[in-house]
Symmetry: C2
Subunit: 167 residues, 2 copies
DNA sequence: ATCATTGCAAAAGATTTGCAAGGTC
DNA sequence: GACCTTGCAAATCTTTTGCAATGAT
């Protein structure tokens, strides 16, 4: 479910990879094989994912394209710092989504299939800013998650979950 | 910061302790010293807290009133199941707040002093229900956290944080 | 050559679990 | 007495860190 791009999209001239290169340069950090591998994986899908999802998609140890778990974690943090990804917490895990070039949006979270659905609401941002103003609070971001049951899961409440349980 | 009670308060005839007793009865669970200790501690403060906060307020091992860490975790989960507390995640930790007899509200979170401020918004609930309707999604709850900097911390940006860092 | 980065192994932090002993109904 | 609960110790899960080897500039 992709949000309406007309609503809040940031105009971007650079690809995520380019932007990340700039970020690295500006910080005296280096362009490495692992960082290139990860940026490709992350920006080839428009999904929400956690560190494990990403690691599972990578080649295993010994194969070309393998990146170790600590490096995955470290690099995800760099992507967040670079403004490429946003991070939030769900069920005790860190979840990442595209930020760079991607419109502001919020989420519906189905507690049955554990899937995230995106929606965009200008009114929510207005409401947020009003509330913050009233409290003389300077907003840097917000996170709204509406939890419940999605249409499919309501219909098929007797069937098996479609998405794997994470034990 | 207490939300306006006129807005969303659930009328409650029972004290949390009584309601919990009923819950235990209905489930064939037992009324124990530890559960009574914890319900008193939890409902004597109107704060947000995590498991550690609660444990720190309890007597230490060997003292009367001591409750072990696993029991604290287990009992907090029971309070949530019983509808007495609500739980959410902040910075990777579970945070609890009163639910039973407490009005619906949301939070401003200051990333400097790490304090939570509550606010109530009827419009937010309306917006939430509209969005959910559009997506044929059945809402069971929502969680909005507005992150930023509170007034005090903006003013005193050079001073030390008022609330202890959690290492 | 210098210094950032990686992978490994191990640590850390929060929470959960197996189980024997003890408490409640 | 039956069986729910507790506390202990240990496990689990996710994420982080120290460090020596490796790679980028």
């Amino acid at each position: 479910m992709t949000p309406d791009l007309s609503l809040g999209e940031v105009k971007t001239s650079l690809t995520p990879a380019k932007r990340f290169e700039e970020y690295l340069q500006s910080r005296g950090m280096r362009s490495t094989e692992q960082r290139r591998i990860l940026i490709n994986h992350v920006f080839n899908h428009h999904d929400h994912f956690d560190a494990d999802d990403l690691i599972e998609r990578l080649p295993t140890k010994g194969q070309p394209g393998y990146v170790s778990r600590p490096t995955v974690y470290r690099t995800l943090t760099e992507f967040v710092d670079a403004g490429l990804l946003r991070k939030f917490e769900l069920d005790g895990r860190g979840v990442y989504e595209h930020d760079y070039g991607y419109p502001q949006h919020d989420h519906l979270y189905c507690q049955v299939c554990r899937e995230l659905f995106e929606f965009v609401s200008k009114d929510l941002v207005k409401l947020r800013d009003e509330v913050a103003n009233n409290h003389r609070f300077r907003v840097s971001s917000h996170r709204l998650i509406i939890t419940g049951t999605c249409e499919d899961c309501r219909k098929n409440s007797s069937r098996t979950r479609r998405k794997q349980d994470r034990v």
